[in-house]
């Protein structure tokens, strides 16, 4: 450890949201000129910790020290003023404004009360150059940039605020491989200039490559801090989940050979996001979609579900060509498809509506005649599915929004299971839900597959793909680049093919064998 005094310290930080404990007496010490990686599962408390640092939320208790002096941040502007700047994983840029406007958005240089455009442009160019985006023109509109370039602008925006502590929260997840490299270069340069970095990423190899110090969070507490590269990946993962890893996932049954596919997709195209995707899924099979975020996985699921206008290609169900032009056609008995959408709050649920109304919403035709709902049949079906998924709810008349995230997700899944779908598409279903519920979902998926469903699971969590899937299709740039099956599904293989390279990656070594 550094002998120098810490630049920033958090002591005994606790935060609760409603009844849920997000942080419990967490500690963190950040030194200038070091890259400090924060590891932990979703829901371990990382994001809350960072939001507290950045002044987005206030801690319930605990204190923060900057240069040894206690500080409080009532709002993000205060944290920025103190030199703590965050690059959030959600892009915060305004699409209709230019790059320069966005970079300087909070404190534009002024002359006589007007924005000094020339000075603004100079500042923006300088910040872009430091962020490794010197080739981006400051007057380009954000909406004309690719996702990866936007993220570079996001980093430039943070740099323009002259940070002393720079927080990168999944800042590389949207980046292309070459931009990742240039961002790493930027981070190393800033580190040498004495800027402290907090680096949050799920990509183990990035952490191994970049970090100086690592802190692992679990259940709202920091459980270990160690020098980077002093622990094996297995040790790190066990720290993160607090138990043996492979127990999380149910065992996979042996793969049956020569089964006819239930769903076949040929050359599905929705340019420019999908470029000729072909795949097939048999009954009883869980097929994973891997790859970096934003390589067309979401679009693939939406296109299958009939949401995307103008998608071309052939879809065959039970060997019969079908055309699916809307979710209504997709869910019809003939096809029997269900989509668990990405964002349960805007796409999966109607939060203010009762749990009952949400559960029965997609399956209304099953217990209504001539448009009139048979309430007792509805009630029976709902009771059944609530029991099946063990949804914890205070009655079925409460709004869905009052449930915990995990239970909300269960409601989204349950509302589709009521239809007994044969083909189930899941778009990152475990994002932001607790470990216990995740485990239940993994078991549920396997049970559904065993009962004869064909399942396509897109996940941003490699562990899930490894633990759950019978085969994984790795997507890159709107096409399936590689298919991994059985024991081929390893983190190393997933990452290598996600980046569309075959070479071995430093630090990405066989992290763990595929669960058998």
């Amino acid at each position: 450890m550094d002998a120098t005094n810490p630049l920033f310290r958090m002591e005994g930080i606790s935060k609760r949201y409603g009844g849920v404990r997000a942080l419990e007496r967490a500690e963190l010490t950040v030194h200038a000129g070091r890259v400090h990686a924060i590891l932990g599962e979703n829901g371990a408390g990382k994001s809350t910790l960072i939001k507290i640092m950045a002044g987005v939320v206030a801690p319930d208790e605990g204190r923060m020290l900057l240069d040894g002096r206690e500080v409080t941040f009532p709002d993000p502007a205060a944290a920025n003023a103190a030199g703590i700047v965050c690059v959030f994983q959600e892009l915060s840029l305004i699409p209709e404004l230019s790059v320069a406007d966005n970079i300087i958005v909070s404190h534009p240089p002024t002359r006589l009360g007007m924005i000094d455009r020339r000075a603004q442009r100079g500042l923006a160019e300088e910040a872009l150059a430091r962020a490794g985006g010197g080739d981006i023109h400051p007057s380009t509109l954000i909406k004309d940039l690719s996702l990866s370039r936007r993220q570079i602008v996001e980093i430039a925006k943070a740099l323009a605020r002259k940070p002393r502590v720079l927080i990168l929260d999944e800042a590389t997840s949207a980046l292309s491989a070459s931009d990742v490299e240039s961002v790493f270069g930027v981070i190393r340069r800033l580190r040498d200039d004495g800027v402290a970095h907090l680096y949050i990423s799920h990509r183990m190899h990035e952490i191994a490559e970049l970090a100086d110090t690592c802190t692992v969070f679990r259940n709202g507490r920091n459980v270990a801090t160690y020098e980077a590269r002093t622990k094996t990946d297995e040790q790190v993962v066990e720290l993160m989940i607090g138990r043996e890893y492979h127990n999380v996932f149910p065992p996979k049954p042996p793969r049956p050979e020569g089964k006819k596919p239930m769903l076949e997709v040929k050359n599905l195209t929705w340019s420019p996001r999908l470029n000729g995707v072909s795949l097939d899924v048999s009954a009883g099979e869980i097929v994973g979609l891997g790859g970096l975020d934003g390589q067309g996985q979401r679009e693939l699921l939406l296109a299958l579900f009939g949401v995307l206008r103008g998608a071309s290609g052939d879809i065959l169900v039970d060997g019969q060509p079908v055309s699916i032009n809307s979710p209504r056609e997709a869910k019809a008995d003939r096809i029997g498809m269900a989509l668990i959408p990405e964002d349960r709050k805007t796409e999966g649920l109607m939060l203010p509506m009762a749990v009952r109304d949400n559960l029965s919403f997609a399956a209304m035709s099953l217990f209504s005649r001539g448009g009139i709902i048979d309430r007792s049949a509805e009630r029976r079906a709902i009771d059944e599915v609530i029991k099946l998924l063990a949804i914890k709810t205070d009655g079925i008349a409460v709004p869905a929004g009052s449930l915990s995230g995990g239970n909300q997700q269960k409601v989204v899944i349950a509302k589709w299971l009521m239809r007994k779908p044969r083909i189930i598409l899941l778009n990152d279903p475990t994002r932001g839900i607790d470990v216990g519920t995740k485990q239940e979902l993994y078991q549920l998926l396997r049970k559904l597959a065993d009962a004869g469903a064909a399942i396509i699971l897109y996940s941003t969590d490699y562990d899930e793909l490894i633990g759950c899937c019978d085969k994984v299709l790795v997507m890159y740039d709107g096409a399936v680049k590689r298919m991994l099956a059985g024991t081929e599904i390893t983190e190393k293989a997933l990452i290598a093919s996600a980046l569309n390279i075959d070479a071995d990656l430093k630090g990405a070594g066989a992290m763990r064998p595929a669960a058998q």
Binding site: G43, S326, G348, M350, S368, R375, G432
Partner: protein, 325 residues
């Protein structure tokens, strides 16, 4: 952090179960009656109350359609001239002999339905914001009616059937009130017991979620607007029966009251939330308010100001209850 932490706090308050807006609206009705009875004891007489219900019935029927559209998160500003159009077309049909008299009411409603269909198709398929398209359609309907009538009140009078349901009573019970009760009963059934009703609430809350659940959202939107147009025209038909004939701009007095009644009854102007009971309360509240203000002989401008202020004040009261989103 996990979503479960950033979620809406676990809070199904007592206030929500009680349905504050509905209770508030009924409370205000009682308050108005008490205030009115201090002014004049006639306010509590059955004759006065029945008369208010009769006047309220027209607004109630028009507000029913408006409520369905507002539940979707949309608005229908074409109501004023749809009301007038329904009244004029029904009266016009009456002029065509006995067959016309029989067809008068259905024909008036049909014309309103077509206006509603136009609104609905424009909103659902052409994706024109309802505030714009319905305003435009209102102007077009106005133009058509002025062209038809030459700018004067038409000479045709209401058919006997229209007068029967609009103006007459049996055993002291105005037929218009009976019609409102039937329309209201059907609306309650539609909203609470049918897939169409569920779809309306679903779309009002989150259209994307409703669409991804496989609900034919566009068709539901069209149907809702058509229903609103038909009910507005039906209200106009009854009004023509009440007054004996149609008149220019007879619907203009119904736009703000209809929206206000729905919203004062606790239906969220953003859609997705509200009960018909609240709309009934809102209609009665608005009707009483108008009546009391006019009985107190407050000048027209004063009435308008008080009326507007009360609506804003009540909306502010409800605003506090809308955290769950």
């Amino acid at each position: 952090m996990t979503d479960q932490t950033t979620d809406v706090p676990v809070r199904l308050s007592f206030r929500q179960r009680l349905n504050v807006p509905v209770v508030t609206a009924f409370g205000c009705i009682v308050l108005l009656l008490v205030v009115g009875s201090i002014y004049s004891p006639n306010f509590l007489s059955p004759e006065y109350l029945l008369q208010q219900l009769k006047v309220g019935a027209f607004l109630g029927i028009i507000a029913t359609g408006m409520m369905v559209v507002i539940l979707l998160g949309q608005i229908d500003l074409s109501v004023p001239w749809t009301v007038t159009l329904g009244a004029m077309m029904a009266s016009a049909a009456t002029a065509y002999g006995p067959m016309g008299e029989v067809a008068a009411i259905p024909f008036g409603i049909l014309c309103g339905l077509l206006i509603g269909l136009l609104n609905g198709v424009a909103v659902a398929y052409l994706r024109i914001p309802s505030m714009i398209i319905t305003l435009a359609v209102n102007a077009v309907a106005q133009g058509l009616m002025v062209a038809y009538s030459g700018g004067f009140s038409p000479q045709d009078s209401a058919s006997p059937a229209m007068k029967f349901i609009g103006a007459q009573s049996t055993l002291g019970v105005p037929h218009a009130v009976v019609v409102w009760i039937i329309v209201g009963g059907l609306a309650v059934f539609l909203l609470t017991r049918t897939t169409f009703g569920r779809a309306i609430y679903g779309i009002g809350n989150k259209e994307s979620a409703a669409y991804l659940s496989g609900v034919p959202t566009q068709r539901v939107v069209v149907a809702a607007f058509a229903l609103c147009g038909a009910l507005a025209a039906f209200g106009g038909v009854l009004l023509a029966g009440y007054a004996g004939k149609a008149a220019q701009s007879m619907g203009d007095a119904y736009l703000l009251p209809a929206i206000a009644a729905v919203v004062l009854g606790g239906t969220s102007i953003l859609g997705g939330r509200g009960s018909y009971l609240g709309t009934i309360a809102g209609v009665i509240l608005i009707t009483l308010l108008q009546s009391i203000l006019s009985v107190m002989q407050i000048a027209e401008f004063g009435r308008q100001i008080i009326y507007g202020v009360i609506i804003v004040a009540m909306l502010l009261l409800y605003g506090r209850d809308q955290k769950l989103r």
